[in-house]
């Protein structure tokens, strides 16, 4: 409701300013009213989730362009130069009639639902597959019979692949063979509200006799608070786990559980994690309610390798806690970090820059060339001197009569007005020396 009231107020000011711009006699007043109008439109851009364009509107339109207008008005002294001429009497009523007609047609078309305001196109789902099943060995990944990645070893993941929305059959075949280690069908919906629609299928668990399970996790790749990361944890380990921050090594009092009791197959999202957070003291532990101190818990995996486990700013990270098989056949927990840049927020500078520097690079450069041409054009158009070809200049200099060349050297006019014979000026007597 507040939004509607704001829209009515700001839109009203915008229209009023436009009308005042048309009606004011003084061109400077018109320019100032136009600035008010531009500012209102910038506000409307903010309401429409376009903060970057709102700032551009203020800086480029209300700033640069209007300054140019005001400058030219003052330069020419053109505030009140134009009296209406009597040449086109029919123009005013015709313009009013045409405008009214257009407004009527546009109004009817818009209000009667003639413009297409159906819901936006769905974004296709993107799928990646994480191999966290230690007994399965290297696998080839197929989606709907199409090979996505071959020879994926345990602990690795594929890239995101865009798929058609709907049911998708995922098959993990033992690498190089057509024997399916696991086959499952997941339902991937399209989405028309998000900027990115990502899913992660995680193959986990299983042992020598039972095939691994596949869990589907929806990735939240939306914007994160600035300089933070969104960390999610998927537990693919056979037992429930805790995520514990052990703080300093020696002091047991600063140990704390970040997330407790994550069941196998469950996904937990942490609150936003600051980019400066060190994961060195974090560890996944087993759950034991009988343990008195957190340091008594059985540590399954530490995140103490800063080359692998860091918090990358503005990213969405999924940590898959899986297992790896040791040589003696026992299992050990292993953490697979999957870091993705968060998708730029709609209408923000980075989302526009991403489009500008990828798909629309050529138009962007053409615009730059156009602006350069406009700059040169403005200089050429307003240049005061008329253009004189240089060659004529040179010829005229050569054709100069000899007498004028002498004049240049002696500093007198050698042609006396009465007779046209050149004569050197009489020698002045030398002043007597002292």
């Amino acid at each position: 409701m507040t939004e509607v009231i704001l829209f009515i107020i700001v839109g009203g000011i915008a229209i009023t300013a436009a009308v005042m711009m048309l009606l004011s006699e003084n061109a400077v007043h018109s320019a100032l009213f136009l600035i008010v109008n531009f500012a209102c439109v910038a506000f409307l851009y903010l309401m429409l989730d376009a903060p970057f364009l709102a700032m551009m509107q203020i800086a480029v339109y209300a700033g640069a362009i209007m300054v140019l207008f005001l400058f030219v008005i003052m330069l020419l002294g053109a505030e009140k130069l134009t009296e209406p001429t009597k040449q086109f009497r029919w123009l005013a009523p015709l313009a009013l009639a045409l405008s009214a007609a257009f407004l009527l047609i546009a109004g009817v078309a818009i209000t009667s639902g003639q413009i297409d305001l159906s819901s936006p196109n769905e974004r296709p789902p993107m799928l990646r597959i994480v191999h966290a099943a230690p007994y399965a060995g290297p696998v080839d990944v197929y989606a709907n019979g199409e090979l996505l990645a071959s020879n994926v070893t345990a602990g690795k993941s594929t890239d995101f692949h865009a798929l058609a929305a709907g049911d998708t059959e995922i098959a993990l075949n033992i690498a190089g063979t057509s024997t399916a280690a696991v086959t499952t069908t997941v339902s991937l919906p399209g989405d028309n509200t998000k900027q990115a629609n990502g899913f992660t299928a995680i193959a986990y668990g299983g042992d020598a006799s039972t095939p691994p399970q596949v869990a589907l996790v929806q990735d939240n790749l939306e914007t994160v608070p600035v300089r933070t990361a969104r960390v999610s944890i998927f537990n693919g380990y056979p037992e429930a786990i805790n995520l514990v921050d052990f703080g300093s090594e020696t002091d047991p009092s600063d140990d704390k559980i970040i997330v407790g009791d994550i069941q196998p197959g469950a996904t937990v999202e942490l609150p936003p994690v600051n980019q400066d957070t060190s994961l060195r003291a974090w560890a996944f532990t087993s759950v034991n309610s009988a343990a008195e101190n957190l340091s008594d818990l059985n540590v399954l995996a530490r995140l103490n390798n800063p080359d692998v486990f860091t918090i990358k700013r503005d990213s969405a990270e999924l940590m898959v806690v899986g297992a790896e098989q040791l040589l003696d056949g026992t299992l050990r927990a292993a953490v697979i970090p999957l870091v993705n840049d968060a998708v730029a927020s709609f209408g923000g500078p980075s989302s526009i820059a991403q489009l500008l520097f990828t798909r629309y690079l050529l138009p962007f450069q053409l615009i730059a060339v156009l602006l350069l041409a406009a700059m040169v054009g403005a200089i050429v158009l307003t240049h005061k001197e008329s253009f004189v070809p240089r060659r004529r200049d040179v010829r005229r200099k050569v054709a100069k009569p000899l007498t004028s060349a002498i004049t240049d050297q002696v500093g007198h006019d050698v042609l006396t007005p009465d007779d046209r014979t050149p004569k050197l000026p009489e020698k002045q007597p030398e002043p007597s020396g002292d």
């Binding site: 429409l48 040449q87 405008s99 818009i110 936006p120 209408g347 307003t382 005061k384």
Partner: protein, 100 residues
């Protein structure tokens, strides 16, 4: 939540006001300002539809329109200055002959 129709309607009204300015005012500078108003109205509709369809391309086109408008204003005002030098007037009714 304001409907997209409302923004498009406002954009149509602003566009009409700009078009009336082009048709009715005789001052060349005001003419240019009215053209800016029309471009701005088109931009508003583009941004409104960009939000409706959840596509950032609309914003990009607005960005391009702004750049083109800047180029157009630079050339247009240079022309006005040049014409004012020769004719001592910027009344567009007096500019109907193709003479220098």
């Amino acid at each position: 939540m304001v409907q997209t129709e409302a923004f498009v309607m406002l954009s149509a009204v602003l566009f009409i006001l700009g078009a009336m300015g082009v048709l009715l005012r005789r001052n060349a500078i005001l003419l240019f300002m009215s053209v800016e108003l029309m471009l701005n109205a088109a931009n508003l509709a583009l941004v409104a539809f960009a939000k409706q369809w959840n596509q950032a391309e609309g914003h990009l086109f607005v960005f391009f329109v702004m750049a083109v408008a800047a180029a157009e204003v630079a050339i247009g005002l240079a022309l006005i200055v040049a014409i004012f030098r020769t004719k001592q007037s910027i009344n567009i009714d007096e500019m109907h002959k193709m003479e220098g």
